[in-house]
Symmetry: C2
Subunit: 214 residues, 2 copies
Amino acid sequence: MPLSVQTRREKQKAELRSELLDAAHKLVQEEGYEGLTIRKLAKRVGYAPMSVYSYFADKQDILFALAADAFETLAKRIEDHPADDPIEALQVVMTEYAAFGLGNPNEYRTVFMTEKVKPPEGRTFAEMQEGNPLMKVLINRVEACVAAGKLKGDPHAIATMLWAVGHGTISLLITFPFYPFGDQQAFVKRMCDFTLAALATQDVPPLTETPVNC
Amino acid sequence: MPLSVQTRREKQKAELRSELLDAAHKLVQEEGYEGLTIRKLAKRVGYAPMSVYSYFADKQDILFALAADAFETLAKRIEDHPADDPIEALQVVMTEYAAFGLGNPNEYRTVFMTEKVKPPEGRTFAEMQEGNPLMKVLINRVEACVAAGKLKGDPHAIATMLWAVGHGTISLLITFPFYPFGDQQAFVKRMCDFTLAALATQDVPPLTETPVNC
DNA sequence: ACGCTGTATCGTACATGTACGAAAAAGATT
DNA sequence: AATCTTTTTCGTACATGTACGATACAGCGT
């Protein structure tokens, strides 16, 4: 089947977009997060600065795309990680997640700590899962724990609570590196163990279905 | 004792600083967080834009100062809140904290979710407590719980863990209002109850004293 | 081949934070 | 009072994100 004209054009557009992303990635590698400016990026690919806006809504959009790549890699790494016990598998998620956040604070920030304007056009929850492959892994492994009888309750609720604890832990460590948490790894492990131990003793009801406010 | 010249000058400087803060506060009230620009602020108080930098290191510094005021008010509100049971007193902290964060996302953001550059010159932990009156209240109430035998372990460690959970919960609600948490209040309450219940059953050891890694 | 239409590209312009150093003001010293 | 020193104020300039609208250009029908 020959590509329709429209398809070809879209492909071309996608190519240029990823060329821009490549250049952006390199720029960040070479000059750090602050080093990425629209003008430099445009010059790098031989375009006028404003042309970048044909491919990305704004600078945040670029940063998001870069960070999303990084998170996808993380998700793959987690999936590839061996884990016999379902609870251990969950611990791997938390640990790797934390290591990633601490090792890539800029990416973590742009995805989880910056102002969001995107009102999701379609189904919010599904989007959330599509958008973040991590959430998928997390829920899968929670479900495995529930199936194995190690945890009890609604997987979505459990996953969300784990996310809240994990995110709180990591974002505090990122934002206040000088606060006396003691050893970062140890603090992460403590929070993880604490939460899993607590979850092991409780049956977690589903989240209330009150419509999203805001 | 008459004021020394130096003191008088410092006072004058402090006055102008707070005049600037007042103007900034009004600007934010009138035009929103985005409405606060250095140029507008300077014009408001009849100064040249660059003069603002004699009183604040940068724009963030202004936002911080504004947010710090708001947090102080919150701390006072919490302290004034009646609470018979020490655990209930702790719940009040969490609840009010959450309500504040959800009601003042901008202030919450600037204090807890923005890049920090300040390397604390003196003792880090003490600064942390001075800087944030909330942490003081939190630790006090945790200590009360420990004293009453409702909780067991190191107060600083317990407070830090509560902070991590509370912060994770609130910052997720702020950043992802469209994620299906269900009812926000209910989610906050759930996380709070979950954590306190878990803490009630564990003896919390002090945090490791490994030097801060940054 | 020739115009038509929509899209990709980009030139210009503006608001913003803030670096740098000059100018002015205040204070100290003689 | 006069001069020197220090601090405060601010004029200018630059890098940046991006709004707006013009231009060039590709694909289409005739």
